[in-house]
Symmetry: C2
């Protein structure tokens, strides 16, 4: 699939997708798969049964769309039963063979018995598999036998292989399914014992690591490779080591993808295979090296400016041609809008419209994004301005790609200091001048008070239908890995949070899954399914709380000075500090200093964490964090307190 291919590295030859992965009718599923560039599909029987298309029409449609029909599935509960029942099962099976001939499919998926096998002897099953294969041979059909993770007697691929090997028929082989194997923590190095030509089919699915009965986990929570927590790279490498050259197909049962638009899902599915193919070939993206900027747009930009200046940011003025403003301190750069946009005003909110990431080679990352069919982010630029390549994340956030640099980025020069045309925040700007101490020069940054070093993390809210895509986006394009996943209680529901980050922590992006009850975009009209940010999408994003966190050398000092400049912090209840005192053995003066400045505290094995939040402007707020020692978290214990305080303020 990828253009880059080294000698000795196997690449994916043929891609396929089970129709059950996609929403809609069978015809819609097929069109979506074709549009996304899949070579073939697996025909999921219930989709065919519910379709008004005859088998012949399905065959013709596939041909018209350039799709191969790679597998008919599933056939259940055939083997390991008494002879009389087996005879009936063979009748059922033969009816499917006849159907498959009309469809033009020549491989059937046979799942290990989960229901009707009540006693079990391997030799009986072997003999029955052999007879089924002999029947199939008359129809030129091959049987791919798959061990379901919850199979009654056969639930490992090793056991399935032993039966297939003993049955010894050329048209009887295996189907290997990553979910069934990895959900039981199966050992994929055992693939080496299987000749590649006896693997008839391969089904890939990822899944979040959950404690759950494997059947429910499988039926509801699978996702596409790269979206979950399975080691699919090793799976693929071991698979290729057998000499397997057949289709690599996706079989994902997902409550989410069952209800999202099928063309978008199919594109995501294809991307997941591209990521997998690259990853198994060792072709991994270079990590971003840091944050270039964050862009916040607000219905009330003057409010944004005020908060930033109170935090110690310098007002670097207006862009020479655009209605945007730059605020900077150290290596932290925030771009804000000067004009109010109608959709934002309507939503009454604000939005983290874009972020800039520094990458070793922006062109190569942009090319990679194009190869993965992520939509381009586009901004009008004048010829003499620096053009950053950009890409749209699944939630609509634009991610711009800047070159790695320890100096201030070139585009900063496009902003003029003390622009007279600006009124918003100018009073605060004066304050900042008064409040700032002799500037410490931060390497690569702008002048400032030296307390804020740069951006620590950017917290992006994800509507439920885009969360999984967000994970793959940051993983496939930037090599970020999921750090932690937890549920945070808010007064309006649980928020699932997963942090995508670089190994060195230079870039950290917590993705927050918004509870259904809070989802403001849940009417069918408002739910944008396109890959492009439009006005509705901007409105949608603007309704969620999001924030930018800055890394400081001394969070308490930043808080103290900011309060001196009039900043309203998010108030922290005194109960929080009493609880802190009961949990940690803290010095009384230190605790009092935290409380006076609404600074929160956490500690773990690695170190300490001090942080505070500003008031919210629309729906965006800022955080200032200080990491002492090796603390790698985000103050998880304080998130519910923060959410409750924000909710409380919202209601006032």
């Amino acid at each position: 699939m990828s253009q880059i291919s080294s000698p000795g590295v196997t690449r994916m030859q043929k891609t396929s997708i089970a129709t059950v992965c996609l929403a809609g009718t069978l015809e819609e599923k097929m069109r979506a798969a074709a549009e996304a560039g899949f070579h073939g599909i697996e025909v999921f029987e219930p989709d065919l049964v519910a379709s008004p298309l005859s088998p012949e029409q399905v065959r013709d449609l596939a041909e018209e769309l350039g799709l191969t029909l790679d597998l008919y599935q599933p056939f259940r509960d055939l083997e390991g039963v008494p002879e009389e029942q087996f005879q009936q099962n063979l009748g059922r099976l033969e009816a499917k063979f006849q159907l498959m001939r009309r469809l033009g499919v020549d491989v059937i998926l046979l799942c290990s018995n989960v229901g009707t096998a009540t006693s079990w002897e391997d030799p009986v099953a072997v003999e029955q598999l052999r007879r089924a294969a002999d029947l199939a041979a008359g129809y030129d059909i091959r049987i791919a036998y798959e061990a379901l993770a919850w199979g009654r007697f056969v639930n490992t691929y090793e056991h399935a292989w032993s039966l297939v090997e003993q049955a010894d028929r050329p048209n009887l082989g295996l189907c290997l399914d990553s979910f069934h194997i990895l959900s039981r923590r199966g050992d994929v190095t055992g693939f080496r014992d299987i000749p590649g030509e006896k693997i008839f089919f391969v089904q890939m699915a990822d899944a979040p690591i959950m404690l759950m009965d494997v059947l429910s986990w499988s039926r509801h929570h699978r996702n596409f490779p790269g979206e979950g927590g399975f080691d699919l790279v090793t799976f693929m490498r071991e698979l290729y080591a057998t000499g397997y050259t057949g289709p690599v197909s996706l079989e994902v049962f997902s409550d989410i993808y069952r209800q999202t638009e099928s063309v978008r899902t199919a594109r995501e599915a294809m991307r997941s295979l591209q990521w997998l193919d690259d990853a198994q070939a060792g072709d991994v993206p270079a990590h971003p090296t840091g944050w270039d900027f964050a862009e916040v747009r607000a219905a009330e930009p003057a409010d944004l400016a005020e908060v930033l200046v109170q935090l110690g940011f310098e007002d670097r003025g207006r862009h020479r041609t655009k209605d945007v403003h730059l605020f900077a301190t150290g290596n932290a750069r925030v771009v804000t809008n000067d004009r109010v946009e109608a959709p934002l005003e309507h939503a009454g909110g604000s939005v983290i419209a874009s972020v800039g990431l520094q990458v070793p080679d922006p062109r190569s990352t942009a090319d990679h994004a194009r190869a993965l069919h992520y939509p381009k982010a586009w901004r009008a630029n004048r010829a003499d301005e620096m053009v950053l390549r950009g890409v749209q994340a699944p939630d609509g956030t634009e991610v711009f790609l800047a070159p790695t640099s320890s100096a201030a980025p070139q585009w900063v020069e496009e902003y003029g200091r003390n622009d007279a045309g600006r009124t918003a925040g100018s009073a605060a700007s004066g304050d900042a001048g008064a409040g700032s101490r002799p500037a410490d020069v931060v390497p690569g940054g702008v002048e400032g008070d030296g307390l804020i070093l740069g951006i620590d993390h950017v917290n992006l809210a994800q509507p439920w239908q885009w969360f999984e895509e967000g994970v793959l986006f940051y993983r496939s394009l930037f090599g970020l890995a999921a750090q932690v996943s937890n549920d945070v209680a808010s007064p309006q529901g649980l928020v699932r949070s997963e942090v995508m980050r670089t190994p060195d922590g230079a870039v950290r992006i917590p993705l927050n899954l918004i509870p259904h009850g809070l989802d403001p975009g849940r009417s069918a009209e408002a739910r944008p399914l396109s890959g492009h940010v439009d006005r509705d999408e901007l409105r949608l994003k603007a309704a969620y709380p999001q924030h930018v966190a800055f890394l400081a050398t001394d969070a308490v000092e930043v808080a103290r000075r900011a309060r001196g400049r009039g900043l309203r912090m998010l108030p922290v209840p005194s109960n929080y500090y009493e609880d802190l005192a009961a949990r940690f053995d803290l010095d009384g003066d230190f605790l009092a200093e935290l409380q006076r400045n609404d600074v929160m505290y956490d500690r773990d094995e690695g170190g300490e964490f001090l942080h505070f939040y500003t008031r919210t402007v629309g729906t965006v707020f800022f955080e200032v964090v200080e990491r002492r020692g090796g603390y790698e978290g985000y103050g998880a214990g304080s998130a519910p307190v923060r959410l409750a305080a924000q909710y409380d303020l919202d209601r006032q």
Copy 2:
């Protein structure tokens, strides 16, 4: 709680609810609990920590609201640890005792150690519990020790009791939690070994029976008593047998209730305790004996009339004072609107606005509904018209209560045949006359062709936030029990379906949980949280597919005649019949007859099921079912086919 109390029957003395059950701030939770009539609350520590109210303010607020503060919870990971760590834990514990004194709470919940106990000896834990109790005694505080289902060493109440008994302190007792006990299938008859005065607290929660790791199950899927599948009645009876007279409290961690409006949730919580109290006392509601009618309102009432007449219903004319029409055959009665209502037109849909259930004593059921605080359903009536008492189900459907009767209900006489003012459906009405054979007289019913006997079931779609409440509504008021729960695949997501029914099957109500992606009312504005049906709510309901199923003696014959009258059936794909042939050994002529008439088929151990669906009018459609032998299902295998066909038609 209940007015009715027999000698020898224990009744609930004191109700309480943990603040974690409810959404919002601590203050909102407290106000909601008070408004719903709870005697007291459990203070969930994270709610207090996140609250701007000081402990003293919480105490004052509780007093003002007439609430007692019954429990402070949870305290974790105290016992079974090395001495040095225990000393620290005692410090942590004492800080909470001081806090509790400021709050005025004198019982603390101590959970069995899940994290820090790495080796375990009962005597060590006993000694540490004893020392904790002695410390508590100095603050006049009692400790309620609870075995968490996932406790590292202590995970049964029997084990917890053995430690408490050995520690032998008057202020050390147990907390019994129904979830922790029943999720592990604990034996509640063992309560008898515990003196009632050593049970310091009781927490009740129900839960759907799920295969899931117990921690996730507990944290996300608990619900209120009567909404789930646990045997809480036996739990309560065994509890009372110990002599326990303390608070019965609710502790429900629910992803749903965490995000729904707290006042509504608190009312539902109170209802769940009323149901539980009645049920344990053997005070169970009389089952409905059958269906009186179903009322469908449509944006295009003429379409409704046409379909009903084509099915063999007789147009019984217009109501003498209201703009509604009656269609009847056998004991099946459907009331439709004559005028189009604006909200329906706006939604472009139709709605099952109400159903009539025959009950042995409507007044007593209505009184019961009032005692449970279900809102009344209200229709304007003239003095000479029969007034049916009515109640609103959580989804807004109005349920009217008619007396059990084998004769046609009296209200039928309020409709005049061949009303000249009616135009809608009059053409079809003529058809019906022509098509009908000499009428068989159905006992208690109206004339008809004798093929349709009555209503079999009414399928009501439930928005996700009301599903659990719907289960309790039909259980608490009508004694219906949950029959089956399964997931049905639709082209737009999985639909969870649970059937509430009487033991004899006279009334069956499948509740279908609509997938989030299909939820049309998910914008905050559109989500009605009141208990009363308003225009918005009607719109919301009108956007979901719902249906009324009629029981017939011969479904194929009904289909044949209806087709003769021009009925458009929901088309069933021929693939369905081919699959049927592979699955069941059916006679070829029979199969052809089914297919010719778009009649679907199922079979189980009990018997056979034949059924067909009509085209959809707005969002409502009709089904005709025939049950042969003891078939008790609903043709589960055909639901995905039906949903796909409806989706397909919608798109055309």
